[in-house]
Subunit: 113 residues, 3 copies
């Protein structure tokens, strides 16, 4: 199994993003893949978000967008999400990936080359 830290190739990460709707998540996810900022975007609709905004606890319907990419692309990916997103301060956080199926990691790196 390829350990992304010791392999010659670069570490891979997940970007965990939330969007205001499934359509927004799909639009942003598709743009990231088309622009090779992510190899793949997984969208989960029907998410309910509870959060504190200006001192009040609010609840909203959202969608989750999980984008898989190379670590060195994360800053550009996050900047592109900010461009495309309807929120001023979108949730874009990076989860480290330790290892993975070698064939899949190879495909992922190629799709974002």
């Amino acid at each position: 199994m390829e350990d992304s830290d010791t392999a010659a190739d670069e570490p891979v990460v997940l970007a965990y993003i939330t969007a205001g709707s499934r359509e927004e998540a799909l639009r942003i996810g598709r743009a990231l893949v088309e622009e090779r900022l992510a190899a793949c975007a997984n969208i989960l609709d029907g998410m309910t978000s509870v959060y504190r905004w200006k001192g009040v606890v609010e609840q909203a319907d959202e969608a989750v967008l999980i984008a898989k990419t190379r670590r060195s692309l994360f800053d550009r990916l996050a900047a592109r999400v900010r461009d495309l997103h309807s929120y001023d301060v979108p949730c874009v956080i990076e989860l480290p990936v330790e290892r993975g199926d070698p064939g899949y990691l190879g495909w992922l790196r190629e799709a974002t080359a």
Copy 2:
């Protein structure tokens, strides 16, 4: 992009929690946000869980609760989930966050101050 390890502010983490129903996930998520143990709770309903319990493989309908917080709050968050949860041994696990959108991380830390 703000690297949560080198920044003056504290690392951020995701708490991955599973609940017996969407209502339970919402109730716990809202309590965590109201008590500033999490800035935001993302609830995904319709999850199916397969697990081994007392030697038998079981299947149950559950919901996922992802809570975003500061690393130093994780122990208190996990203790509070145990208080509120219907299970004796709830799944509460901490996923590290490497980096994120600076505006979002700033909001997250403020909402849990």
Copy 3:
């Protein structure tokens, strides 16, 4: 709170897997639990995947399978997923878990012993 790095017991990880359908995710998840390669499998249906395949950006309906296991089992888990999966190159990636509820981590390690 038990820190999986300093505790005598072994680190725990999440395997993030995508499948072609809910049925496939359930079938693979159940096999992993029955064979003690995972303590628990969480299946989220209704995921939409956008990805680049042979130069074309495609979209497909998939399901997410999150399997919780011990780090030392990840390679065997990934190999077993490849055996059972309908794709040639399935997404099987390892997310590190930093800490968790001690009772839950204990149960997880026992269920995969």
